[in-house]
Every structure is written in C-alpha cells, then in structure tokens.
C-alpha cells in the first residue's frame, strides 16, 4: 500500500462516518468586511498612517510631479543603479539619473545584488494593515527584484488600488499568481525583542501614493 493510501485510510478510520456538510454553510462569516466606516480619502489616509507606523516612508504626489519625486528619492539614497520591472510606465523614471537594470532570466542573483534600488508599481494596498501586495504583473516584475536591493520604492495609485481590509484584498487578487504581501520594511525582533529593520529584505521601503487616473504617467 502506498503511503498516500495509508494516510487516507487512517483519516477515514479516525473520523468514522461523517455527515454530509456542504462547506458553503459550515462557517459563519458574520465577521466584518471592513472595520469602521471611512470615506475614500480617509481610507487612503489610514493606509499612509499604518504604513508609516511600520516605518515605511510615505510620500504623496500627482502624475506631473512623480518623475521629479522619484529622481529625488533615488538621488537622496545615492543610488547609482535601479532595477526596473519590464513594464514600468516609462514616464515614471523620465527624470532619474541612475543606470537602469532590467531583470532578465540570464541575470544572476549576484548581479541583482549590485543594484542599489528598485522601483515598482503595486497590485493592491490594504489600509487597515498598511500592506502592499505585489502580484508579479509587468509593472512589478519578478519576486526577486523587490527582495535583493536594499531600497524599494513602490508606487500605489490612489484611490483605485487601495482597499480597506484583508477580505477585500483577497477578493481582488488572483491566487494563481505569485503574491508578495509587504507590510513595512524587513524587520526582526529576535534579539531581546528590539525591533531592527532589515535583515534580508530591503531595509528601506518608500511608498509613493500617486493621485490621478491609472494611465496618468504611462
């Protein structure tokens, strides 16, 4: 008998006869879809607040100012090179100086390790938890590019990419894509529970809340 059959057989014997209970009605889903009533503007404010509370640096701008802001943020970090996902709207980095590095299959992780910063878009941002979700779309790139550099700038289009809560975010996401949920920069509390930012992921997370229509800076 295969181990699969053994385990499944043990489960059957452990449970005995089980009544037919459709899953749809087995769980009371009377918990909240979101916590508190907020206007769209308040939801965006809450996102900014919660991101900052977990030590992300938050900026707000509109489509006209975005290229200059990104240029400044990269310059302030002294970034010589910046990783760019395949379909980042080209206008976004129009004013930036650093060398663009494009992530290709042939790129070794050691090569990516030499990039100073990475700039990406975002799939969904969750206000109540201060979370950004990346889903590997062409404006966000593969998972590794937001992991290896020490500085990540994530541009969130507000309000259309912002939801209030975790339940709302899951509805919008496609489970078939690789998903990375980011809440503040990498952190550890393993040493006497003192929080230290950045062990392996980017130590600095900057979030740009971009107002204007989705095609604003394309």
């Amino acid at each position: 008998m295969s181990s699969r059959d053994i385990v499944l057989g043990r489960i059957r014997r452990a449970l005995g006869p089980v009544p037919d209970e459709p899953y749809e009605t087995a769980v009371d889903r009377d918990y909240a879809r979101e916590h508190g009533a907020r206007t769209t503007e308040q939801t965006v404010d809450l996102l900014a607040e919660n991101l900052a509370d977990y030590r992300a640096l938050v900026h707000r701008t509109d489509r006209d100012e975005l290229p200059d802001l990104l240029m400044q943020l990269l310059a302030l970090r002294g970034a010589q090179s910046v990783l760019v996902p395949p379909a980042l709207p080209p206008g976004w980095l129009a004013a930036a100086d650093p060398v663009r590095i494009h992530d290709r299959a042939a790129c070794t992780t050691a090569e990516l390790d030499r990039a100073d910063s990475v700039v990406t878009g975002c799939a969904v941002a969750i206000a109540e938890t201060g979370t950004l979700v990346l889903d590997g779309s062409p404006d966000q790139g593969r998972r590794r590019i937001t992991l290896i550099p020490d500085h990540h700038i994530c541009v969130v289009r507000v309000p259309d990419q912002v939801v209030s809560s975790v339940p709302q975010a899951l509805r919008r996401l496609d489970p078939g894509r690789p998903l990375t949920w980011i809440s503040g920069p990498s952190a550890t509390s393993d040493i006497e529970l003192d929080r230290v930012e950045g062990v392996h992921g980017p130590r600095t997370l900057e979030v740009v809340l971009l107002t204007g229509s989705p095609e604003a800076c394309a």
């Binding site: 181990s3 489960i11 690789p178 949920w181 990498s186 392996h200």
Partner: protein, 506 residues
C-alpha cells in the same frame, strides 16, 4: 515525532533546573510580557475579534472532519499547477523523501525557512547524516543553530538568549559555517542583525535548493502561504531552483477566502502586528518567476492518531501563533526547553503527547505541565480548549484507556506512581464538567488570595518548591469580562459559556 530530545528528563525535573536559571527567567519574563501587552492592543483594534475567532474554529473543525477530501483536492490543485505531492506517514519517511529529492538535484546544501514541521521530524540531522548541510536562515534559528542549542519558543526561538550571549556566539561560531562575524562586533541588535545579513546573504545567493514549511495550504487553489518578518523566507522560497515544503496535513484550509480569517488573526495573535512584514503565496510553479520545481511533502507523523481522539483532535486547529505560550505562568517560569519537544508551552503540553504517545516519562508528565488557569484558552485565536484537553490526557495517563497509535487502536495501561494525580485529576474533571463550579472556584480563589500558600500541599509540593506560585488575579477573567463588557459580551457569547472570549484583557 521522531522522539523526545535525547536524554530529556521529565517535565518537573527539567523545569526545576530551568527555574533556577535566573538569566533565563528574566529573559523570558521580559519577552512574554512585552508580546502579551502588545498583542492585547492589536486584538482590540478589531471589534469583530470574537467572530473571527469563531469562524477560524469552524473552518478548522470542518477541515478536520473532512480532512481526506480536502487533502485530495489539494493534491489535485497543486499537481495541476506544476507541483509534485508526496505523502509521508512518519518522520523517517518524510526525511527519506526530502533527502532523496535533494540528492536528485546533485546539491550538497540547502537553505531553510524556519519550520516547526521540519524540526519535528529532525530533518537537519537526517540531511547531515546524508552529507547535506542545512542552513537555518531565520535570525533566531541561526542563533540557535550556531549556538548548538535548541529553540525555546515557537515564534522567537532564541528568546532565552540575551544580546551579550548572541554576540559571543556569532563571534565564535560564524567562521565555522561561512562568512565570519565582522571584527569588533558589539552587542547592539542592529550590528548583530547586520552580521547575520552578511553571513546569510552569500548562502542565499548561491542556494539551489530551499526547504520550508507552510502556514496554510489552500485546497481550492493549491496555494501555499508562508508568513514571516525578515525576508529570509522570501529568499528561500524564490531564489533557489528547487523548493521542497514539508507541511503537516492539518495545515490545509478549504478555500481561498478562508485566508481572510487567518491573515487577520494570526499576525495579531503572534507578533502583535496588524500584519507581519512579509507574506509569500505561491501556487505550484510560475514560468520565469521562482523555483522551476516545487515539491510538497504532506506529513502525518501522529496527526491522524490525534485526529482519532475526539477531545484531543482540536489541538490540530493550532495555527502556531504562540499566544498561549506568552500568557502561560508555567511557561514563563520553566522556559521552552523543559517541555522536551519542538512544541513548548500549553500547545506543546497537549500536542506532543498526542503526536508521540505518552509512553515516555516526559510525554506522560506533559499533561501536568499546567496550572489549568485557562489563560491559554482565552487567547487562542482558534479557541482550542487547552485545559479540557489537558484534563483529558491526564485521565488517559492515569486511568489508561483506548487511543490510536500509528493508525491502530491501542489500550494504555494506567500509569504507576500517579495515584495522587489521579485524585487531583478527578477533582479537576469534576470542575471542568460543570462551568458553574469553575466560575465559583475562580471567584473563591480570587477572594481568598491573601491566604494562598506559597507552596502547594500534597503532591504539588515538589513542583512548587522550586518556583513561585502564580499569583491569583484580583478578579477572574470571566468576572472582568462581565464587568467591563457587560451585556454586549453576553450577546456575542450566544453559542454558550465557552465563547465569551474577548482577549483584550487576558
């Protein structure tokens, strides 16, 4: 489980030594109180906490009652998404499968995400015996591994080490494992974290095989979920060419939507954060992003035996948040090592004897490693009634009875030398069968707290001789809840006395 830690004394003896260690006690006390207080605040932010907790309980209970169906569905969806599913009845088989998979890649080293399942089966040792080196990459696990130590807490495994000790371990040991610690390393947490970053980065960038566990597996979609803070998880899950995840069969949840419950309750219960810094979700393999090969090893290793016990089964609801450790007066004094298993604290006291059986002295003593104060139940985000299971297991140890071991029904003979506990247990059983009595008892205890003895009489004396008894709170939790939450609380507790579960004041 692969067995107890070698030469591990029974809980009372191990606890006695731990309680004498003043540094350990101070470290633990600081840590558990800090997390506990922060957690209460994080939980208070969600006014539907009691309903989320109940939904979590229901999801897990339904999953367990239909476990076979959900696992088959999971196998189907993971396979359809490009993954390969393996089944392991016990630790040895799981280790054989993983070792074989690593060998097939031709690699001699793997990077690991912190995972209790792989600790439970002793995977690192099995890999080492096969000539494969496993690098732990979680900072705390690294501290534990370099210090040739054992983890003492689910969430913060090196909680028993202070910064000076960590500095010494890094300065002394890093060189033997790879990049040495920087010269003149101090004990500042930022510097220590930086040393770990540099030490591990060279391993991440060259690793071809990653090994992980998972917090959740979604049957409906085949999605795996790993929740972490440091980014070492993301490194191990996305940079290697081959990813092997070893996951207990109880970690499956039926639907994608179920994550909305656990992604709200887990981070707040464990690290007291609204959300942990990183959560990774992947479904099989994705072209051009992440590992080209994904293997899922579904682990039984005593879980089906636990499932066969209708009272004890609820331990399989556990989402390993560690909230119960941080509120446990016994854990706070004894520390995680005294439990002699990878699962310490209240959850360890009920899970380990079920996964391993109660044949060994330590496993037979674990159901007694509790004061039955009930704090663990109050904080548990999936409402596991740990005191109820403890009493049930004591009964099994003392009176013997039917239970399942390796899938076969077995009868346990009553343990010798437990006559005194038997009497104590009967009293406890009586009280727990009647919630009214429990309430009255708690209130009485609170009123008479000034005359409480410093040591326990009778069989409890040996236990209490080496530690301070936890002080009895002025007011029992139930009374506090009634007073502060009043009628609203009663209304949400409609499902019975056991659902009056606000954690905010626990």
């Amino acid at each position: 489980m692969s067995g107890t830690y070698l030469g591990m004394p029974a809980f009372p003896a191990a606890a006695r030594d731990a309680v004498r260690d003043a540094t350990l006690r101070a470290n633990l006390r600081h840590a558990t109180h800090t997390i506990r207080d922060k957690r209460a605040k994080a939980v208070a932010e969600l006014d539907d906490w009691a309903r989320l907790r109940e939904a979590g309980r229901q999801i897990k209970d339904h999953t367990l009652r239909h476990l076979g169906d959900h696992l088959l569905r999971l196998e189907e969806t993971v396979t359809a998404a490009g993954g390969t599913v393996h089944w392991a009845t016990d630790a040895d088989e799981a280790n054989r499968i993983v070792t074989g998979l690593v060998r097939a890649t031709g690699e001699r080293e793997v990077v690991k995400v912190k995972s209790m399942a792989t600790q439970e089966i002793g995977l690192n040792e099995a890999l080492e015996a096969a000539g494969i080196r496993a690098y732990e990459t979680d900072l705390a696990e690294l501290i534990v591994q370099l210090g040739q130590d054992r983890p003492s807490h689910i969430l913060v495994p090196a909680i028993h080490r202070n910064r000076g000790e960590i500095r010494d371990i890094f300065a002394r040991e890093m060189e033997r494992w790879g990049r040495p610690a920087p010269d003149g390393l101090t004990d500042s947490p930022a510097e220590l974290a930086e040393a770990a970053r540099l030490h591990l980065r060279e391993k991440f960038l060259r690793a071809k095989v990653g090994v992980s566990g998972a917090n959740f597996m979604v049957a409906e979609t085949g999605t795996m979920v790993v929740v972490e803070s440091e980014g070492n998880g993301r490194m191990c899950l996305t940079l290697p060419e081959t990813l092997i995840s070893v996951v207990g069969i109880e970690k499956v949840v039926p639907t994608w939507r179920d994550l909305e419950v656990f992604l709200q309750t887990l981070p707040r219960s464990s690290t007291a954060e609204r959300m942990n810094p990183y959560t990774s979700m992947w479904t099989g393999t994705t072209d051009g992003d992440g590992p080209a090969a994904f293997h899922l090893v579904l682990l039984d290793n005593g879980r089906t035996d636990t499932l066969a016990d209708e009272v004890g089964r609820q331990a399989l609801r556990c989402i390993r948040c560690s909230a119960c450790l941080n509120v446990c007066p016994v854990y706070e004094r004894a520390g995680g090592h005294a439990y002699g298993s990878v699962y310490p604290g209240p959850i360890g006291a009920i899970l380990s004897p079920q996964l391993r059986g109660t044949a060994s002295e330590i496993d037979a003593s674990l159901p007694y490693a509790s004061s039955l104060c009930g704090a663990c139940y109050e904080v548990c985000p999936v409402a596991i009634d740990i005191p109820e299971v403890l009493v049930h297991l004591r009964e099994r140890v003392v009176q013997g009875g039917e239970f399942t071991r390796h899938g076969a029904k077995t009868t346990l003979r009553p343990a010798r030398g437990h006559a005194a506990e038997r009497a104590a247990m009967r009293a406890a059983g009586l009280v727990f069968a009647r919630p009214g009595l429990l309430r009255a008892g708690q209130r009485l205890a609170a009123r008479t707290r000034r005359i409480h003895p410093r040591t326990l009489p009778g069989p409890g004396r040996a236990w209490s001789a080496t530690r301070d008894l936890p002080t009895v709170p002025e007011e029992s939790f139930r009374d506090w809840w009634r007073r502060t939450r009043g009628r609203g609380a009663e209304a949400t507790g409609a499902a019975g006395a056991r659902t009056e579960d606000g954690e905010a004041g626990a």
